[in-house]
């Protein structure tokens, strides 16, 4: 086993272990912090697989922006600190069954299909900023433009949802406290 393969196996084990902790930990904030570890290891896997620019974009956008947004969401919804026992317990067994079936199906399919294919990383062109930028702005420029329109649409949608919240709170439908009949109905269930 060469050192590249050793690094890859190490990063994979870190990524899978911390991903398991993300979905099983009973601390809300710890889940977000373990997600940082998972995404960072995936960025390392990208580096090993000769995708340098994708790795740095992963660090910038996922670790830098997405996790901060998730932490914001946890903070703004007043997530309680400390242990919570009712975070995931109710359907743990059926969920584990379905996820295990999905994992076994995918793993058996890809291993059976690509068992003999070797990945020769010594002669692969490293996807640096120059090569990736050339590819994006020559061959893939039309999908790139469509993607910018999609980002604009998502931005407009997020602003529209926030405006909806402002109008609703003016009509005394929304507020920091839930409607009383709603919470009563929830207790009955």
């Amino acid at each position: 086993m060469s050192w590249v393969e050793a690094i890859f196996v190490l990063l994979s084990l870190v990524a899978l272990g911390s991903a398991l902790l993300v979905v099983t930990t009973s601390h809300l904030v710890h889940a977000a912090l373990w997600l940082v570890v998972t995404l960072g290891s995936v960025a390392g896997i990208f580096l090993v697989l000769a995708a340098e620019f994708v790795a740095w974009v992963q660090v910038l956008i996922y670790v830098g922006a997405v996790v901060v947004l998730l932490l914001f969401a946890l903070m703004l919804t007043r997530a309680p600190m400390g242990r919570q026992t009712d975070l995931s317990v109710r359907r743990a067994l059926p969920s584990a069954l379905v996820a295990g079936l999905v994992g076994v199906l995918l793993a058996v399919t890809v291993v059976a299909g690509f068992r003999d294919v070797r990945l020769d990383l010594d002669h692969t062109v490293v996807g640096s900023a120059e090569t990736t930028g050339t590819a994006v702005f020559t061959v893939w420029v039309l999908p790139f433009e469509v993607l910018s329109v999609l980002l604009l649409a998502a931005l407009v949608g997020a602003i529209a949802l926030s405006r909806l919240r402002a109008e609703l709170s003016g009509a005394d439908v929304a507020g920091t406290t839930p409607p009383p009949d709603n919470s009563a109905a929830r207790r009955d269930r």
Partner: protein
């Protein structure tokens, strides 16, 4: 390294993400499961890009596009989660049943107002 190593890692990461989406009750934790699944897909893209030695770098470009779509999705989902919290006081996906299919329509009158 054999090609199936990164593919196996991606499959297992995807399965872990599926488990997170199905078992968690907090909407933000469900979103984290979705992020794990998107990352698993990205590993597949990058691995096949390296194996095929794509001169157009289609795999890496598509991985970049997936990252952008994930960022847009998280931005929208944050707005929706905050809106749900403002109107309901909680973000537990089990309790949000206004859009559920019911046999008895009159049952809805107490829950949705």
């Amino acid at each position: 390294m054999p090609l199936w190593w990164p593919l196996l890692v991606a499959s297992l990461l995807f399965a872990i993400g599926v488990y997170g989406v199905l078992s968690r009750r907090n909407a933000v934790l469900v979103l984290m499961g979705v992020e794990l699944m998107l990352n698993a897909v990205n590993i597949n893209f990058v691995a096949f890009d390296a194996q095929l030695r794509d001169v157009l770098h289609g795999g890496q470009t598509f991985a970049l596009f997936t990252i952008v779509i994930a960022a847009a999705e998280v931005g929208l989902a944050l707005a929706i989660v905050l809106l749900v919290f403002r109107t309901h006081g909680h973000i537990e996906v089990d309790e949000l049943r206004e859009l559920a299919d019911r046999d008895d329509p009159t049952e809805l009158s107490g829950a949705a107002s």
